[in-house]
């Protein structure tokens, strides 16, 4: 099977995975809204937690994968790693947008303002901006090999940066409630909420994979076209 056909098959599978996860996501919403109890202090608005936190996880996963693939590219010099890395970065940016919009929507009813400099939002914002820069950089470099190498460097540096951003924000006083599930001690969410959250994590990860498959398939198709154009010249 040539590259074009396998890419089209990948896109098709990706579409199926995405649709499946969207259906499951609807299920999660139902569970969250109807079957999971309302949180005492924050009220119904707290339910956005089930979307907000897993999206954050997906964004960081996407950027982390991008960085790891950068290492893989520098080591193996396989162009596909670069295409996968940039696809992951784009998907990460999509999730970043979700967090940066749902965060304020959550924040407004609870704290009264749209934006707060809390841990998760702030970390996501800076990483988001870095990866926007990553894509802009890819846009201005014309040589594909140079572009892949530069992207790998930024991706790897971004990977190293993630823990430092977290630490910075953690040290800085925040208004966001301490991450309930990810506290060093045992998670203090009641079981029902914890299960909803974990299910949500799973579904969002599946959604990430679905998006990634489709975006990567598109990247491969573009690459195939470039190859054809170059050979024809």
């Amino acid at each position: 099977m040539n590259r074009r056909d396998s890419a089209i098959r990948l896109a098709r599978s990706g579409r199926i995975v995405t649709m499946l996860s969207l259906v499951l996501l609807a299920g999660i919403y139902v569970r969250a809204l109807v079957f999971t109890p309302i949180e005492r202090t924050q009220g119904a608005a707290q339910k956005i937690f089930y979307v907000h936190v897993p999206s954050a996880w997906c964004a960081f996963l996407a950027f982390g994968v991008c960085g790891l693939l950068g290492i893989a590219y520098l080591w193996l010099k396989d162009r596909r790693m670069d295409l996968l890395a940039s696809s992951s970065a784009e998907v990460g940016i999509a999730f970043g947008v979700i967090i940066l919009t749902t965060g304020p929507i959550w924040g407004k009813p609870i704290w009264g303002h749209w934006w707060t400099w809390d841990a998760r939002l702030t970390s996501t914002l800076f990483l988001f901006l870095l990866f926007v820069g990553y894509l802009v950089l890819r846009g201005v470099v014309t040589d594909p090999d140079l572009r892949a190498r530069f992207s790998a460097v930024i991706g790897i540096m971004g990977l190293v940066l993630i823990p430092f951003i977290h630490l910075t924000v953690y040290l800085f006083r925040t208004a966001h409630p301490m991450p309930i599930v990810l506290k060093p001690s045992a998670p203090s969410l009641p079981n029902v909420m914890l299960v909803t959250l974990l299910l949500s994590f799973g579904v969002f990860t599946l959604l990430y994979v679905g998006f990634l498959m489709q975006r990567y398939a598109l990247a491969i198709l573009r690459d195939v076209r470039e190859e054809e154009l170059a050979n024809a010249a």
Binding site: L129, V136, V153, G158, V160, L171
Partner: protein, 226 residues
Amino acid sequence: MPSVSRAALAIAGKDIAIEWRTKTAIISGLVFAILVLAILYFSRDPTEVSDLAIAPGTLWVTFTFAAMLGLNRAFLLERERRAMDGLLLTPAPRSAIFWGKFLGNLMFVGTIEAVSLPLFVLFYNVPLWDKLPQLILVIAMATIAFVAVGTLLSAMVVRTRHAELMLPLLLLPFLVPPLVGGVQLTASLLNNRPLSEVWGWLKLIGAFDIAFVTVAALLFEVILDE
């Protein structure tokens, strides 16, 4: 074939010699620092915000912008007549180019900081002389962070279009940890708190320095290759 340290010192020395002769970056850095310090001084309500409250942030914003000016200039030098290719044609080890540029940039940014600091004390009336050693330590640690990442990134973007836009765009997210740390530490010092209270920030910047100097040195050769 020259050793890494010899070649790096030669390169750093060359950058310093050129800067000393032309003084363009130092002068524009200085003027820029004065302008930023002055503008930030006036852009607040003095009854609400005291000099001391605004001082740490102002100082570090000034340092950041001045550093970016300098970093860009350092690599534009090599771009002018493609002098970088000249460096690559010599048998000098490639890592020497990184260390040489890193040292040169440190000298340069350090000089701007050294000149901005008295101005800062002058404009903002901050009582800083008894805490000078600690402050210099903090500034030095954060500057190493800026310059390590900045040297790597400026080498990268100098070969792209819109280099002057790409450098701040890519660099600023990396400056957040040392910048925030620097501001917090400076504020703490100016308010007469002992450094031991903000030990966490010092460790953060220290770890950042070690991590990013290592990563930048390792990745530098990747971006030099063609």
